[in-house]
């Protein structure tokens, strides 16, 4: 329907997560209207990110250097490791502003139905970090869903006795109405209640 280069661009864009063919067409036509420099800058940024970004040797967050900014920062508490599923999970924790420890990115969560077993995650690397010493507490911050919970239970079993293991609290979101909370969340909130 469109000239070959446009079709090719639409095909490539529609491979991106959350972008269907119609959205891909809209982006393609937007880029056609933009000056050549804008397209060149986007292309250069894409190539740059592929060439320069790799996984941190220690925590497996994204980094430009051998160690990421968190692992290089001597002001952060190296005795605390917060275990997350993906690098994107670090962002909300950092935005919260209360955590000053390090991270460990597993690269996913255990999911037998999807064929994700312990050897597919960076679990051994976490155990090696703990075994190397200096770690006082591991905070399990996997998602509060079935795969995240089973990953946390599995990790807690492996780490118990070696280091203090804690799990992120779960319950009612700040600003929400109790009336609209689901039963599972309310149950968790009651279990995790604290004294005032």
């Amino acid at each position: 329907m469109f000239p070959t280069p446009v079709e090719q661009l639409i095909t490539e864009l529609s491979r991106l997560p959350g972008i269907g063919r119609r959205s891909a067409q809209r982006i393609a036509f937007y880029m056609l209207r933009r000056p050549r420099e804008d397209a060149a800058a986007l292309a250069a940024a894409l190539i740059d990110v592929k060439d320069k970004i790799r996984f941190c040797r220690q925590c497996f967050n994204f980094t430009e250097e051998e160690l990421c900014g968190f692992c290089r920062d001597a002001r952060r508490d190296a005795g605390l490791i917060c275990v997350v599923e993906e690098p994107s999970d670090i962002i909300p924790i950092e935005k919260g502003g209360d955590y000053r420890g390090l991270y460990h990115v597993l690269g996913g969560a255990l999911s037998p139905l999807d064929g994700v077993d312990p050897e597919h995650l960076r679990i051994q690397e976490l155990l090696d970090r703990v075994a190397a010493g200096g770690v006082e507490e591991v905070i399990l911050a996997t998602n509060p869903n079935t795969t995240g919970e089973s990953t946390s239970i599995y990790l807690a079993d492996l780490l118990r006795g070696k280091v203090r293991v804690t799990r992120l609290a779960s319950g009612l979101p700040v600003g929400a109405d109790l009336e609209y909370a689901d039963e599972a969340t309310v149950s968790r909130a009651l279990l995790g209640r604290r004294e005032l």
């Binding site: 959350g18 255990l110 037998p112 139905l113 064929g115 077993d117 312990p118 509060p144 869903n145 079935t146 919970e149 089973s150 239970i153 599995y154 807690a156 079993d157 979101p173 600003g175 929400a176 609209y180 909370a181 689901d182 039963e183 599972a184 969340t185 149950s187 968790r188």
Partner: protein, 271 residues
């Protein structure tokens, strides 16, 4: 004409869609497997939130779309949270859900399968509660999902992996409802009721020593257990004592039937 309707549903699983949505695989009493879009469910403030975790029994309001349905309302009937908190029960539950979600077509009404699923989850919750009361199945200390420990370890006192036996019972019943009941009392080839030392999915069940067919050895105890699990209510299956070897043979028979007749390899073993 309104295309909205209400039905009971069990959550089988889900995958991410776009920024904050999910496609949740529901098994409904009205339409069987029903892939359903749930908008904004990955946001912290979603009103559906924890209601859409696997095994949750819901009363849902759905809007029928061209390809996918959309969830417009959900009330919890039972959360079955205990099953998700006990690794052996979670593994057994996922095993049954895997088989159920890979048999039958989407939007094919299967009321008997829905009833089987509801009863299976209710019984599994009882098994987990009983195990926790005994101290055998406490969250965080029970073996099962990924640790490679044997089935016998799951309930050491009784020597029985009760979630696995319950799942095997439900899976055999599912094969029966799907039209793939294996011959277990006589040779699937010649009909002899003498010794039946082998099982062949290709032949359609147990085989005597003389009949041809690709097969694996099966013990009399495993055949007896399979017959019991098929003929008894699920509540009785959960109480059945089954040694680890018979469990493995029963699972292998289920797996071979799935491979040969249904064309898929089960992804999660309950044992």
């Amino acid at each position: 004409m309104s295309r909205g309707y209400s039905t009971e549903a069990i959550v089988l699983g889900s995958h991410k869609l776009r920024e904050a949505d999910r496609v949740v695989n529901l098994f409904t009493s009205a339409r069987g497997k029903t892939p359903t879009v749930v908008k904004g469910v990955r946001k912290v403030g979603s009103r559906f939130g924890g209601r859409l975790e696997p095994f949750t029994h819901l009363e849902v309001q759905l809007h029928e779309g061209r390809t996918l349905h959309t969830l417009t309302g959900a009330d919890t009937v039972r959360t079955h949270a205990a099953i998700r908190g006990q690794p052996a029960a979670l593994k057994a539950g996922l095993s049954f859900i895997d088989l159920l979600s890979r048999t039958g077509a989407e939007l094919e009404r299967r009321p008997r399968c829905f009833n089987l699923l509801v009863r299976f989850l209710d019984e599994m919750e009882k098994v987990v509660s009983a195990g926790t009361a005994d101290g055998a199945g406490e969250t965080g200390s029970a073996p099962g999902l990924h640790d490679g420990r044997s089935a016998d370890d799951v309930d050491g006192a009784a020597g029985v992996n009760r979630p696995a036996v319950l799942a095997l019972g439900a899976e055999l019943k599912l094969l029966l409802l799907s039209g793939y009941l294996p011959h277990l009392s006589s040779c699937a080839h010649c009909g002899s009721e003498e010794s039946l030392p082998r099982f062949s999915a290709m032949a359609g069940g147990a085989l005597c020593a003389d009949c041809p067919g690709e097969s694996f050895p099966v013990s009399a105890a495993a055949l007896e257990a399979m017959r019991f699990l098929l003929e008894s209510p699920l509540a009785a299956a959960a109480g059945r004592r089954l040694d680890a070897a018979a469990e493995r043979e029963t699972w292998r028979a289920v797996r071979e039937v799935c491979r040969y007749h249904l064309g898929f390899d089960p992804r999660v073993a309950p044992v």
